[in-house]
Symmetry: C2
Subunit: 223 residues, 2 copies
């Protein structure tokens, strides 16, 4: 991961493309990454289609961001294919990871409350991750997150279920990002101005921006 | 515009990248396009940066979707640069469009309630659109939408303010899309099943999908 702190989010899921699901995950991630001093430059949303995910990962890796954060496609069903796509993109095998298997097993032990259960193919799938990847503990769901460091870009795969995505990000991803970016902060100041139209304010802002180019000034019309 | 009905959305705005704004526009557009029988294949969100918008438009045009719908960047301020980016991408000039100027002027006449006002550079900017483009009436705001038909792909530029985006889509874009796609419909059926985990249901769904590959089946765990 480079120290520049430039991030790409890839949101994966057919439900995003039909409008069934609102992509609140990417807004939450943008806020958190911005607060950590990082900068999200691109968000790409695509459906559950293996070849599309592989192509998108390749294209976004070519831009060499510090990290790519994916959401969605880590679950047990046939159309959860994010990890297979990551493995293909990096040219590595998928393999059952002992720590990941332990994490998944522990969650099902809690769900079944001590009763017997099978580690079915679908459950083992969630512990089968690209070679060289590290599983990230999911404290509120079954599918672990996954972190893979490549030369330029770290690939961080999180579940699409918001509570699980947030818990893994806060528990495992934030410390990782802070370790690279260091102790940066995002500062923002809001000025409320009344009874003026955006088009009237525009030349004033343009002049301010030309005088202080380091500061980003943006008007948000409310009425 | 091709009849395949495959769409790309490009959401433009720094506020999306910092997480200040939730991208509810793209969900709304996905729902509407899906209902019209179209299919949104990609959503790309980027900041207000001219070169980034131009590169993204080029990359997405290379995929030859039926249409690219952009939201944001049509307003009067210095960082509203969608139309300049579209003009550069297509290699055409920006020019003041008489119908667009009439639309903008009419809105300011309503806002100023008959009092005198200036068509400032910032206000004329909203009527300055790529050569060959058609302005789309904005019944609830000042910046018109813009439609440009290229050989493979129609480019449709809508404002980022949700009410304006929706009004232009319903008034001008829906009829345009229907004219191409024809009278298709999206059909969806929800089955609620209780007391079963997604990982237990997964092999059943896999079998169903292999028997009826034309139908897309997806489980959405609720607990």
């Amino acid at each position: 991961m480079s120290r520049e702190g430039f991030f790409t989010i890839i949101s994966i899921g057919n439900a995003l493309m039909t409008g069934r699901t609102l992509n609140s995950n990417s807004q939450w991630l943008c806020k958190r990454i911005t607060d950590l001093g990082g900068s999200v430059r691109r968000i790409v949303c695509i459906g559950d289609h293996l070849q599309t995910i592989v192509e998108t990962l390749r294209e976004e890796m070519d831009r060499a961001p510090s990290a790519i954060v994916t959401t969605g496609g880590l679950g047990p069903t046939f159309d959860d294919m994010t990890l297979e796509a990551v493995a293909r993109t990096l040219g590595v095998e998928l393999q059952l990871h002992p720590d990941a298997e332990r994490m998944v097993r522990r969650r099902y032990q809690m769900i079944f409350e001590g009763k017997e259960f099978q580690m079915t193919a679908e459950r083992l799938k969630m512990a089968t991750i690209p070679k060289g990847a590290r599983p990230l503990e999911n404290p509120v769901g079954t599918a672990p997150g996954v972190l893979i460091e490549t030369k330029a870009t770290a690939i961080i795969c999180l579940p699409g279920v918001p509570d699980e995505m947030k818990a893994i990000f806060e528990g495992s991803v934030e410390p990782f990002i802070k370790g690279y970016i260091g102790d940066l902060r995002f500062a923002e100041l809001n000025l409320e101005v009344f009874d003026i139209m955006e088009s009237t304010l525009a030349p004033v802002i343009r002049e301010a921006v030309s005088k202080i180019p380091q500061v980003y000034v943006k008007s948000h019309p409310l009425g």
